[in-house]
Symmetry: C2
Subunit: 418 residues, 2 copies
């Protein structure tokens, strides 16, 4: 599929992340408006609430866009998702008869503040990248025990903390936590010393479910994707995570990119999961290409300095698709809701330059890496800005995600001071 032409001139560049082929959904505000739903087109945002109010969007009996989140649309299911995409395409396509009515409803992205695009009822984080799991397992348990015995049979995941999900651009405060260094007998309560990122994709559940669903049903139920940075306090994690998993190490913040790229926009970029070492059980078997070919990059900019690219990888490196993760998530009967967020797990490629966390890039801090500024890093330092970017590359266009960025602020001197 080639670039689809829009009457919004900035949407017709091969470099824009938001051509007419994309139409990602976000929530924005301006000095003149409270947060509201919008769709990105080139360098502009179409105000969906205003478009609905004047009847340009009229899909359902009750309004969809009188609320500042996309969950209401998600709950409508795939037929309404498709109808909205068709309508937005008709409104914004080159030659649209609606141009004169739509034009006043466009706001420059540069003038908008972005908010979380949806209410996140619950957040689940997986561990479904084989290179990452092998790297981390090798560091912690040795190469021979790198992958846990269950890893090749199911997408391992744990429940994260939805209240800590924030939109790109939110500053992150270095947390305090209980740590125990190997050379001390007792733990201490200190600021985290090994603060890290995890490069992930977040899949967003659209259609709710209330019992086990198949991999195909899971794929059907997924609404879209965001970039996701699962900030991780490695030293807190090391002390707390046995036997019940990560808890406070992952509860400071998880940043997501502000635009939900719909599954519809990513259809041309479907790709298969890698070959299977063990045949998966029937309820988890691949039933089609359910990964997506999305180039991913992480940059690190020390305070006041230029950014260095520290990782380049691709979402197709995952061992399990989001559809397989969601299907596994429901096996026990677990109810899923519109807006539920599933982190893919850290996405690392096979090469050192393709690793999705500083833990892997610096091999647990033993091999600090060098930025283009000449500085070295093992973990994130105060003032560092970490930025995830992602794009699926089409024929003369790209489907971009918008940045997922955050700056690490120093720990509070006394976390209990008011």
């Amino acid at each position: 599929m080639p670039l689809m032409k829009s009457w919004v001139a900035s949407a017709n560049s091969a470099d824009t992340p938001f051509p007419l082929n994309n139409l990602p959904y976000g929530v924005f505000s301006t000095p003149d408006t409270d947060p509201r739903c919008g769709v990105a087109i080139g360098e502009m945002i179409l105000d969906c609430q205003a478009a609905e109010e004047i009847g340009l969007i009229n899909l359902t009996n009750d309004p969809l866009f009188d609320v500042p989140f996309w969950n209401d649309l998600m709950e409508q299911g795939p037929a309404v998702w498709a109808a909205l995409r068709d309508r937005l395409t008709a409104l914004l396509a080159a030659g649209s008869p609606h141009q004169s009515m739509v034009e006043p409803l466009l706001i420059p992205i540069a003038e908008a503040e972005m908010h979380l695009p949806m209410v996140v009822p619950e957040y689940t984080d997986f561990y479904a990248g084989r290179h990452h799991a092998t790297n981390v397992g090798t560091m912690f348990r040795g190469a021979e025990n790198a992958l846990p015995p269950n890893w090749l049979h199911m997408p391992i995941g744990y429940n994260g903390r939805a209240s800590s999900v924030v939109v790109s651009g939110t500053d992150i405060r270095r947390p305090w936590g209980q740590l125990k260094s190997p050379d001390h007998d007792l733990p201490a309560f200190l600021p985290c010393r090994r603060f890290d990122i995890e490069l992930e994709m977040g899949a967003i559940v659209g259609t709710p479910s209330d019992g086990p669903i198949t991999v195909q049903e899971a794929d059907d139920n997924i609404f879209g994707f965001v970039l996701l940075n699962d900030w991780s306090a490695r030293d807190i994690q090391a002390w707390e995570y046995q036997p019940l998993g990560p808890f406070q190490a992952k509860a400071t913040a998880t940043s997501i990119s502000p635009w939900i790229v719909t599954k519809a926009a990513l259809e041309p970029f479907r790709t298969d999961t890698p070959p299977r070492e063990f045949e998966l059980l029937d309820h988890l078997k691949d039933v089609g290409p359910m990964l997506f070919d999305i180039d991913l990059t992480v940059t690190l900019a020390p305070a006041g300095k230029p950014a260095s690219t520290i990782t380049r990888t691709n979402y197709r490196e995952m061992y399990y698709s989001a559809a397989q993760q969601l299907a596994h998530h429901t096996t026990s009967g677990c109810p899923m809701n519109a807006g539920d967020l599933l982190g893919s797990g850290t996405i690392s490629g096979p090469e050192k330059s393709e690793r999705g966390s500083l833990l892997e890039l610096s091999w647990g801090g033993k091999e600090p890496f060098t930025l283009e500024t000449g500085e070295q890093r093992s973990f994130v330092e105060d003032g560092d800005t970490l930025t995830l970017t992602g794009a699926a590359l089409g024929d003369g266009y790209k489907i971009g995600f918008g940045n997922c960025t955050g700056t690490l602020l120093p720990a509070l001197k006394d976390p209990y001071e008011r």
Copy 2:
């Protein structure tokens, strides 16, 4: 404090779980009304929505009871919690001048259907009972490694799945899951064979927080308590839980009792945590008696047969208080919201008859126990009804919780059949 007298006759019995001293909060419906907030008094429920509508309750500018959940009250904070309790006491006390206006607003509990008393934004489950952790650790890792190294230094917890929290009386469907028995090389997808309960108390966060809070602040922020049964699929758990903790094993259902017993009603029953083997770090130190003396019982009734008591224990057996759990939960900066539910962890006493799970009672299935009907049990069988009860025993009165009950339905033959 003695029994406080009410003009509602059934509230003045030494046996009622709901004397005037209690005033627990629930959400009920009748054939004539949609779900709405109510307070239990003896054998009756006072309809709080109706009381507010006619001006008998008038605490805030905006109505508190135009919604079928208690979260709005929780968000108002302790001063409004106290004002509501004072007002309800004034309305229902013997000699109240309001009796004639309140009387028409009473509905028999026997005619009401109960619903979840609050929206549960997120659910966290702890592992903070020493006897339970020692029992389970001994079974899985041997007596010498029973307690993980971090256990005596922090309340170990993990994020559960809020969407699976159900109100007492909801039937529970035996889940399917991925299992691997020790005598097989590969896992299989089968109905759970080792389905279990966990006897817990649930603490409910009232006041939201957005950063680390002290143990005293945490105690202040807790709104009340429920009984909680954290249904657990032990065979699913055994295969999935390393390295990131329980996931699908705990996602079928968690049942809670329908009435929130407020912290205010439990004040006379405060008790200290047990002696500390290691001094806790300052941010987790006890700052007063923050456990509660609450007798707890579990009964098991096979289908169509009488119930046998299988456990008697007490909430004071916990090593960590709910306040310490909540304080630990916020160390990383994790935001907490009104209605967040914190499971205490399984409450087992030191004796065999005081164990809070079938896993412990049957020692992993190796020592089946005998019910009063003569039947044996290692884990929950299809048709079994499990019931948790709890009460704090005062001077001539008790503060009861109402039952937390659920019946196990057989697994579906094909979980994917529609």
